[in-house]
């Protein structure tokens, strides 16, 4: 188990991702799987750093845990404003360059990288749980995810 708590800031991105990546490596995970987890984690952290604390500063907690021999949990907790990533619509993926909107892809990529994703609001905290299977390595495709509780989007 690994726990990291740091202020929500893009400047701390590496301070979260590098230790998580090293921990996953020490668990014997493939580089391909680690990169997917890094991507999902980055997208979650960036979102929180940019939007969770509009009135000031706050922390992000990241917990990494081996749930069983084949499943890794990355739990990301913030005390910012309510935000259910599972409730966001899928962005338009087919538009041409001129019509395609810049942005909106981060949460989508996070959802596609994780094998399971749940969100809940508990005691004024956003608790996002991303679960990744160690094997088999999944190619891009439909991702099962639990919509969790829904609410106001920030």
């Amino acid at each position: 188990m690994l726990t990291i708590t740091l202020p929500a800031s893009l400047s701390n991105l590496g301070q979260f991702i590098v230790p998580v990546s090293n921990w996953l490596k020490s668990q014997g995970l493939s580089r391909q799987k680690i990169v997917r987890i890094e991507l999902a984690l980055e997208e979650a952290l960036v979102n929180i750093s940019r939007y969770a604390y509009p009135q000031g500063r706050g922390d992000i907690e990241v917990h990494c845990q081996l749930l069983d021999e084949n499943r890794y949990l990355i739990e990301i907790i913030d005390s910012g404003i309510f935000f259910d990533v599972c409730a966001l619509p899928t962005p338009e993926l087919k538009a041409c360059v001129a019509e395609r909107e810049v942005g909106g892809l981060g949460v989508y990529l996070m959802r596609k990288m994780a094998d399971e994703i749940t969100y809940r609001r508990e005691k004024d905290k956003n608790i996002l749980r991303l679960i990744f299977q160690a094997t088999p390595d999944r190619n891009a495709g439909a991702t099962p995810f639990n919509p969790g509780h829904r609410g106001i989007q920030r």
Partner: protein, 110 residues
């Protein structure tokens, strides 16, 4: 992340190495902005040595492709592989950009 620019007659080629994440992507944006300020209208981005890209990088690629299209220019991409290729495919970016095996193939298309 490191970037190296080579100017050819038909296009500027920028090779990107390392990781393009939310922290480093703005550097890529600035470099492209400089190239355009110098007059480049056709830019080839070589991703051969890029090992990681997140949505922040995709946004910069798309935003600059829009700028170039607006001035009748083009942004061409080459050498997508591994995690970078997967991210392009998942986001649908592989269908909206011209992607070539290598910079020579991209140059030959111009």
């Amino acid at each position: 992340m490191e970037m190296m620019v080579r100017n050819e007659e038909k296009a500027a080629i920028i090779a990107v190495t390392g990781r393009m994440d939310a922290v480093s992507a703005p550097q890529f944006d600035k470099r492209l902005e400089t190239l355009m300020a110098e007059g480049a209208t056709r830019i080839i981005v070589n991703f051969q040595n890029l090992e990681y890209i997140s949505s922040a990088g995709l946004q910069i690629v798309l935003a600059n492709a829009k700028k170039l299209e607006f001035i009748d220019g083009e942004l061409l991409l080459t050498n997508l592989s591994g995690a970078v290729k997967e991210v392009f495919e998942i986001s649908g970016f592989d269908t909206i950009f011209q992607i070539f095996d290598d910079p020579d193939a991209a140059l030959a298309s111009l």
